[in-house]
């Protein structure tokens, strides 16, 4: 139910989830981020403009990388979320723990 694309721009890895991330599909997100890290990227953008839904399983994936990324100086920035998806992050206060911005340009400046 989620398709995940990746593109690289100027040494930045851009991960693009398309569709819905729930308990059955969060593993795809986890594997994609792990792959990006494994390939040595230190600047990772998550393009959420085609992310229609996310449940705690998906939020948990982002949370699980916070410490590792801080240890390895890897920057991850999420951008382009629709209001409903952003609301899900905000209910839990995750917008304080993760870097979430509106546009791709802003995201590029943050990494």
């Amino acid at each position: 139910m989620v398709q995940i694309k990746r593109i690289q721009e100027d040494g930045t890895d851009i991960i693009i989830p398309i569709g819905e991330i729930d308990a059955s599909s969060s593993i795809e997100l986890d594997l994609t981020i792990a792959k990006s890290v494994g390939e040595g990227f230190t600047k990772i953008l998550i393009d959420c403009s085609t992310l229609e839904y996310i449940s705690s399983a998906g939020l948990g994936v982002f949370m699980s990388y916070i410490e590792e990324f801080s240890d390895k100086s890897i920057k991850m920035v999420l951008f382009g979320m629709n209001d409903k998806v952003l609301n899900t992050f905000e209910i839990l206060g995750l917008s304080e723990l993760l870097t979430i911005v509106k546009t791709k340009d802003e995201a590029k400046q943050k990494v």
Binding site: A23, Y53, S55, S56, V61, M63
Partner: protein
Amino acid sequence: MKYRYKVGCSIENLKGVRDFVRTSLVEHGVSDIDISEVVLAIDEMCSNLMIHAHQCKADDLFELYILMNKSESLVVFEIVDDGTVFDINRFHEPDLDNIIHEKRKGGLGIRLVKSIMDKIEYEQADGKNTCRLSKKVQFN
């Protein structure tokens, strides 16, 4: 008005659960943001039930009811099953720092459900468990 949905405990069925909840509430003019929040809360409750009480066994079935109580501006969800009861009211969610540090992915879903829903009650009778979740919403 009461809606009923019977679902097997495979997590592949969560999409169907979300569509059922969304469609039922759209018919009653509930606002988009309320719909998206309760869809999320019910997804979390159902995935917990499928994974923890039924080990994702596709042949295990449970029922989901939605009741529109317009006079009290209340939408009530009932999840009825015959597995082990896990009362989230008795669960103390770890704080977020703890979740980050221990890479625990549990606890987030329950935190969401408790933030979204106004009331969560459990009832057991005749070998069936009912979890009833209510939320105040605006009907149009």
